[in-house]
């Protein structure tokens, strides 16, 4: 017969999730402001045709991260003119949505059973992992919004379906579940790496 441990386990996961969600809901804007220059750098590394500036602004959807993209060269795709140099485009991504991987990641590393030392170690490891998660999601989302405009323009002038840029495919994959796979894998990694902290070698009994 299976031991009935599901109730405390579920309670632990859900209470930790609620605390982490509340923390990021209120601290999210501050965290985003701290990492905004880094996120702008990553966004510009991903942007092929434009220079991007990021801003945190209030919006009817809540706080959003706005990208202002300035096209740095005349854009031609498949020999079709898409956008002239100097054109400006904007797009937004909601901050709450951008924080979901962090909520899942920290909720998992904090609620997974372990010694206090192991949990502290996981949280310390979670800071760089959280930056990696943010970098792999938000900049891609913002760049794909801008690339989506170019792609629509391309399809309009080409008058047919054109292949989607890789970053749009990546973002669609992320939005359909990848954005949850990454924090789960990250949390599994942190739990696995810190597991030896819990482990006590059995003593030799002769």
């Amino acid at each position: 017969m299976m031991p009935i441990t599901w109730l405390p386990l579920a309670g632990r996961f859900l209470v930790v999730w609620a605390l982490v969600a509340v923390f990021f809901y209120f601290a999210g804007e501050f965290i985003a402001r701290v990492f905004l220059p880094w996120l702008a750098t990553v966004t510009n590394m991903l942007a092929e045709y434009f220079h991007a500036d990021l801003f945190i602004v209030p919006d009817k959807q809540g706080v959003v991260i706005k990208i202002l993209a300035r096209v740095t060269q005349d854009i031609y795709q498949y020999n079709f003119p898409i956008a002239p140099k100097g054109a400006e485009l904007t797009a937004v991504g909601t901050l709450a949505h951008a924080l979901t991987p962090l909520v899942i990641f920290f909720a998992l590393v904090l609620s997974w059973p372990g010694s206090f030392k192991a949990i502290v170690l996981r949280v310390v490891m979670g800071v760089p992992m959280g930056i990696v998660l943010l970098s792999a999601t938000l900049p891609c989302l913002l760049v794909s919004h801008i690339e989506g405009v170019f792609h629509s323009a391309l399809q309009t002038v080409a008058k047919k379906e054109m292949p989607m840029p890789f970053i749009m495919t990546w973002v669609i994959f992320m939005e359909m579940g990848g954005v949850w796979l990454l924090p789960i894998m990250g949390a599994l990694g942190c739990v696995a790496v810190t597991h030896p902290v819990n482990y006590k070698k059995p003593e030799n009994i002769d």
């Binding site: 949505h97 909520v103 899942i104 949850w180 599994l188 482990y199």
Partner: protein, 177 residues
């Protein structure tokens, strides 16, 4: 202290853990690939209507007949709110994650089938509740819609999936041993 299938004082079986992670990702990617092969119009006009929209509309109208919500393809419309079910709203991502984890976890076939059936039923039920809840939020407390839709509900459903997997894997191990 609650324990999961990896007990606190056990050495982690590294090879098994790494192999689980590889299989988990591979199964998830395969399911996502198959999901994108399904045509949009089939999802919108057939699957979403029969599986999500019609049952949710029936429940909403049962809970409050004054709502008079109508189901139209992937749309739920009333005088107060209108919701459209699109790819991603169907809970497929969460269900694929759970199915991939159950498939990747070393366990007997019957236990896996049990994990699939109960897990899919649980996540679908939670997703229906999410859609019904979102309708009432859109109708009566619209300012809450964005944070609940894009922040609270997805993270909560993922946590429910994780709890289910932890419980199921514990059960699977107890059966295995």
């Amino acid at each position: 202290m609650t324990t999961t299938h990896i007990e606190r004082n056990e050495a982690l079986p590294w090879r098994q853990a790494a192999w689980f992670a590889v299989k988990f990702c591979a199964f998830f990617l395969a399911m996502e690939y198959a999901y994108f092969a399904i045509p949009d119009d089939f999802l919108r006009d057939t699957l979403y209507f029969h599986v999500l929209v019609a049952p949710c509309v029936a429940v909403i109208n049962f809970l409050n007949p004054a709502e008079q919500v109508l189901a139209n393809h992937s749309l739920m419309t009333s005088a107060k709110a209108s919701l459209e079910i699109v790819r991603g709203c169907d809970g497929a991502g969460t269900i694929f994650l759970l199915m991939a984890a159950v498939l990747a976890f070393s366990s007997p076939f019957k236990t896996k089938i049990l994990g699939f059936l109960v897990g899919i039923f649980l996540l679908m039920a939670v997703n229906h509740l999410r859609i019904i809840g979102l309708y009432f939020i859109a109708a009566y407390q619209n300012s809450w819609f964005a944070p609940i839709h894009s922040y609270v509900a997805p993270t909560l459903i993922i946590m429910i999936g994780c709890v289910f997997f932890a419980v199921w894997s514990q059960y699977a191990l107890s059966r295995h041993t």
